[in-house]
Subunit: 339 residues, 2 copies
């Protein structure tokens, strides 16, 4: 079963505001079991929090982690023609071929961690408009990409790791984050695939111009995403929304993925409560964005690749949390004295 | 094949000073391959460093991560009679039964992450002497425990995660770290299984008295470990030493495990170069100790359980590093343009 598609920005708002909350009964069951397990209370730290969080947002106890899934969305960006990446725009499609052939980092991570994977390349031959001059997407284009993300999610997933690929998309993420949360363009703009010096300064100027161009949409997060985002960002936002409706917890990846989810949290303050930050990226805007969203990343390994790499790696932590929570003996079962 | 046992502290010093260094050829091969993989240079962050580090210390390229192993050592502590733990000393043996029955956290983690596991309970019915009054171990007892650790390592292990169990052993670790590196007892003493307030203040006093009692051994790290350590700490030091000789990289766990390895690094400054810190524990002395040893932890998840839990969890990161390094396509293979 998948969710119904949306037909307007207003549909999205309605879904977010009406979305189901945490399953408090399942959370209480998790707390009760956790207290009986053979360890000092609290000694598994975030693993204990995660077992509870999965119970709350899967809506069941015990939580399960047998079928984790990763979904990657790719898109091309009109703004790439402004020279905002170390790589040519053709690399988006080349990397999609690499994903399909199983040769990219995300393929190895999914294989090593037993995570199912698929990649969806969205209209790569039709880049978004250059958002320094116009809105990146028409409303129809935005909704089509959002719906691609929505229908990628189904109830069989124990958790969903989201990732992206798109030459130029750290520029889109920086512009979107700056439009949503304010501050200077330089606060949100980073090296991406490897820009430094004058190239990075140029990229920062591009972000500044884009945000200024669309200032009239400030205060309307979904409209800002339509204008400053990209198809893969819209699809990620759609997947996050559908996952909430289907009780599938989400692990976000790096800067772009988190920027794509951020507008949802501005539409409804609890809209990202079913999402964990898988890691904090080396892209400097990501730490700032996580701080604004009040998300504590699970990992900090200096990754800045995207593709969902940090999110998939964090699934190992979620799996460990569920293994301990469900498999450990209680004090009574093991005959261990309590404190 | 395993290493020969040691017969004196001087034997240990000789082994450490004469131990093999990194395999620089293997490291260069790792660097050459890494530069050709389909990702921006450096974008896999610490995963790239780890692939190189494993090559250096396994002494081969490509590195392998098919047979990771975890070894846990347990011991009992005379100082436990001073009331330094929230749990009674009988819990050490009860938890060993739990390890053997497969009901502890470490069992679930090893199963979830496909890590082989064994636990070695060292003379639980003969606790060490109370080190506020005497040396914890005679030289013969210390060497016997050190050798138990040494013979637990063999060349089939791709990596070795080390862990421990022993009621009272955060007190031993705090005393040993304070004796080795100075500072106040309060800098190194933490809640352990859950002490707060007056109980924690009492534990701190016990550490202070122990360090003062053995001040004459300051400057002799192995002698300090004999006097202030415990059998499981000595075994961990033995395992770290044997692993170096057998080219098995090591992942250290939390405060106690790291304190057990620390004396080796004072005997020879490179003696812990084949060790990663799997995580930083919530036990406050651990962060300080890692800082002194110049080790950057791989994970920070608020764990404070011991057993090797953080070290085994970090094996997921090592496995991911090897999977990416060995499995990814090169730019040429995938037909992806380079920057």
């Amino acid at each position: 079963m998948v969710v119904d598609e949306v037909e307007s920005l207003e549909d999205i708002r309605r879904l977010l505001v009406g979305a189901p909350g945490p399953d408090l009964d399942a959370g209480e069951q998790a707390d009760r079991r956790e207290a009986q397990l053979t360890k000092p209370p609290g000694s598994l730290g975030r693993l204990e929090d995660l077992a509870r969080w999965l119970s709350l947002w899967q809506g069941r106890h015990p939580p399960t982690m047998d079928r984790p899934a990763a979904r990657l969305f790719a898109g091309n960006h009109g703004v790439a023609r402004q020279g905002v990446s170390a790589f040519p725009a053709a690399v988006t499609a080349q990397m999609v071929s690499n994903f399909l052939a199983g040769g990219a980092a995300i393929n190895q991570l999914c294989r090593a961690l037993s995570v199912s994977f698929s990649a969806d390349a969205i209209e790569l031959d039709r880049p978004t408009a250059d958002f320094t001059e116009a809105a990146a997407m028409t409303e129809a284009e935005f909704l089509a990409a959002f719906n691609r993300g929505m229908v990628s999610v189904d109830r069989t997933m124990d958790v969903l790791a989201l990732g992206e690929m798109g030459i130029g998309n750290t520029t889109a993420a920086a512009a979107l984050a700056c439009g949503l949360f304010g501050g200077a363009a330089a606060d949100w703009t980073g090296p991406g695939t490897g820009l430094v010096g004058a190239e990075l300064a140029h990229k920062t100027k591009v972000v500044e111009r884009a945000v200024a161009r669309h200032r009239d949409a400030a205060g309307d997060p979904l409209e800002l995403m339509r204008r400053l985002g990209g198809r893969e960002l819209a699809a990620i936002a759609g997947a996050v929304t559908a996952a909430r409706l289907l009780r599938v917890p989400v692990v976000l990846d790096g800067f772009i993925c988190t920027a794509a989810a951020a507008p949802l949290g501005l539409v409804d303050p609890g809209a990202l409560d079913h999402c964990q930050a898988g890691h904090v990226s080396a892209e400097p805007g990501h730490r700032r964005l996580l701080s604004v969203l009040n998300k504590e990343p699970l990992l900090n390994l200096g990754l800045r690749l995207g593709e969902g790499s940090g999110a998939v790696l964090a699934i190992a932590v979620l799996r460990a949390a569920v293994a301990c929570h469900t498999g450990m003996a209680t004090f009574a079962e093991a005959g261990v004295a309590t404190p």
